[in-house]
Symmetry: C2
Subunit: 419 residues, 2 copies
Amino acid sequence: MDHKLQETMLEQGKRARQAARVLATTPSTLKDQALLEMADALLANSAELLAANRLDLEQGAGNGLSSALLERLMLNQERIQDMAQGLREIAALSDPVGQVLGMTKRPNGLEVGRIRTPIGVVGIIYESRPNVTADAAGLCLKAGNAIILRGGEEALNSNRVIARVIAEAVVKCGLPEGSIQLVDSEDKEAAIFLMKMSDYLDVLIPRGGKGLKMAVTENARVPYIMTGMGNCHVYVDGWADLDKARQIVFNAKVQRPSVCNAAETLLVHSDIAHKFLPLILEDLQKAGVEIRACARSRQIVDGLREATEADWDEEYLDLILAVKIVDDLEQAVDHINLHGTGHSEAIISQNYSNVRLFMAAVDAAAVYANASTRFTDGNVFGFGAEMGISTQKLHARGPMGLTELTTTKFIIYGDGHIR
Amino acid sequence: MDHKLQETMLEQGKRARQAARVLATTPSTLKDQALLEMADALLANSAELLAANRLDLEQGAGNGLSSALLERLMLNQERIQDMAQGLREIAALSDPVGQVLGMTKRPNGLEVGRIRTPIGVVGIIYESRPNVTADAAGLCLKAGNAIILRGGEEALNSNRVIARVIAEAVVKCGLPEGSIQLVDSEDKEAAIFLMKMSDYLDVLIPRGGKGLKMAVTENARVPYIMTGMGNCHVYVDGWADLDKARQIVFNAKVQRPSVCNAAETLLVHSDIAHKFLPLILEDLQKAGVEIRACARSRQIVDGLREATEADWDEEYLDLILAVKIVDDLEQAVDHINLHGTGHSEAIISQNYSNVRLFMAAVDAAAVYANASTRFTDGNVFGFGAEMGISTQKLHARGPMGLTELTTTKFIIYGDGHIR
C-alpha cells in the first residue's frame, strides 16, 4: 500500500480524534443546525453530485457491474431529496448524549449513576449505495462522534462529492474539520489499513457480506461491530395458518430480495409439506424465484433443482430460495442456529408452545412470530435511521440507532468520601 | 504449542457450546441451586484445596514470586469461606435472563421488544487470585453462559481443584458437563490459542495489565472486553478543600495500592501546590510511598526523585506515586485523557463549574467528584459481584456485573404481518 496514503490516513485519524473531543461536548442545538445545513448543502450541490454519480455509473457499467449493483449505485434528484430528508429526520431525533441513567444514592452517601457519552471516533466500511455516506455521517454527528468513511471504490466519485459537501457544511457551522472524513482511495488495502488504526478509531462498523467479514476477523485491531450479514429463515410449523404462511414466505423472499433481512431458506414441517409446498412454490416460481430443494421436497414437487450442502449457508441476496423439510421444531431450530448468521428468523405457527420455544431457542438479533423477516429495520422498530443491522452479540444487536453509537460512563459525586 | 492440548481445548470449546445451548433456557431456580451446591462443595473440599494451594505457594516461592503476589495467591479457611459466600450472594441476585425491555406496539400492529439473553460461551484469562475461578464461574452460570477459565500458571494447582469441585457440583444438579471448564496447562501458548477460538467463544474477558493487553490486541480473533488496567489520577483543583483533598489522595494511593482503582498520579493546580504538596507528601512518605515528581514539585519539596516521561504512563500497583503540577483544569484533563487507561479519575474541587467540566471532559469508565477512586467496584456501585472492571467503551464500561454478561435480542409478534 502506498506510503503516502498511509500517512494521509493517520493524519485523518489524528484530526478525527481532535474533532471527537470537541463533538463530545457540542450542544444538541448546534449539532442539529449542522445536520440541517448538511441537508441543504446536498440539495444545493445536486448537479455536481449527479455528474459525479454518472461517472461512477459509466465506469461501473464498463467494469461489468450487475444491473442490481448499478441500481443501488444510481442517484437521481429524488434519491438526493431522500438523503437530505434523512438528515433532517436525524436532526429531529432526541440526542442520546448526556442522558443520565439510574442515578442512585448508595448507603455511604455517594451518588452513583451513568451518563451517556459519545464513543469517540467511528470508522465505517461499506459498499455501493452512496446514501450511506450521508446517513452514517449524520447519525455519528448527532451522537457526538467523528467519523471516517470508507465506501466502495465503485461509488468513489459520488462519495467524494457527498463527503466534501457535508463536511464543509459542518465546518461552516463552527464544528471541527475532522468531524466527517472520507478515505479518498480506490486501494483495497486502505480498508485493511483502516481496520488496524487502533490508536485513532474507537469502533469499526463493517457493512457487508462474507468476504468483508473474513477480512475483518483476520485483520481488525479495532473493536468492531459486524453488520449486514443475513442468512435468514422462515420456518412454517406443522400448526401454521397456511394462508398467512404463504403470504409471509412470499413477502420475505420476493418483496426486496437484495437486502439482508430477506429470507434465504424456507423450512417446512413434514406434516404440512405435501399441502403447503405446491402452493408456495407455485407462487414463488411465478415471481421468478429459483428453488433449491432438499430430496424430500423434490419428491413432493417435480422439477426442482437439488440443494447442495453449501446452499444452507448461502446468502443469495437474489431471487433464489433454499427449501428443506424438517420433522419437528427442534430440527428447525438446530438448522437455524447452525446455518444462520444470527440476523432475522421467523416461525409461522398457531401453536402457543411452539412459538414460545422458537422465540427462546433461536439465537439471532431478531426473532419473529407470524411476521415477515423484512421488518428488521430501525425505522420499523421505532428508533429512526440506523447505521446497519448488527449480527454480533456485544454492544449492539439488531438495528443500530443513535443509542448504539454511544457508550456510558459512571459519574460519582461525593463529599470527601474515602474507602 | 502441543498439538494434543490444542485438540483438548477445541473439544472443550465444543462442549462449552453445547452446554451454553442448555444453560440459555435453564430456569433461575436450577441455576441458583447449582450455585449453592458449588458453595457447599468448596467448603466440603477445603482440605484438598488448601493442600493444592500450599503446593502453588511453595513453587511460587521457589520461582521467586514477590511477597505481594504470594499474598494474592494464598488461600486459607477464611478465604475459602469468602469464596463460598460470594457464590451464595450471586445465587441471591435477580436473574437478568428473560427480562423484557421496552415492548411496544408499532403503528402497523407489530409488537416489538427486546429480551435479555445469555451471551453464550465466555472465556476468561486471569492471574494469581484463585478466588476469581469461583467468582467468574458463578457469575457466568447465573447469566446462563458456559465458561472456559484460563488462570495463571502460578495458581494452577489451586484452580484445578476449585474448577473440578464446582464443575462436579453443577453436573450433580443436572446441568451440562461443559458449563465450567479449566484450561489445564502451564503453557503460555494456551492463552494465545484461547484468544483465537472464535468458533467456540462469544466473548473473551482478559483481566490484567499491559502485557496481556498487548497479547490480546495482537492475537485475539474473539471479541474481547479488556478489564483491569488502571492508571488512575486524582486532580486537586485550585479550589479544592485541602483537608478533604489530603484524605482522598492518601486513601486513593495507600489503602490498597495493588488494585486497579488505586491512584498512580497526583495532579495539583499550581495555585495551591506550595501549600498542599508539603502536607500530602509528608503524609504519603510517612506511609512509605515513593514520590516521582515533576521539576516544579521538586522546587517546592526537597529531595524528591525526578519523574521521567515514562512515569506518567506507569501503573505501579505499588506504594509509588507520580506527582505533577498543572496550571489549569484543561491541562489536567488533557494529561488524564492522554496518559490514563480510562479507568477511574477524580477531581477534588469546591468550584461548581470546574467539577461539571471535569465530569464531562474526562474520558474514563468512572469519573469522581470529591471522592476516592478506590470506590470503583461492583458491590460499591450496587450491583453485586463483578467479572472485572472494563476500560473499553463497547458493550460494558466500568464494573461488569451480571447484566454485562448478557446480550439482548429483538422479539417481534405479528399476526400474518408482511411488508
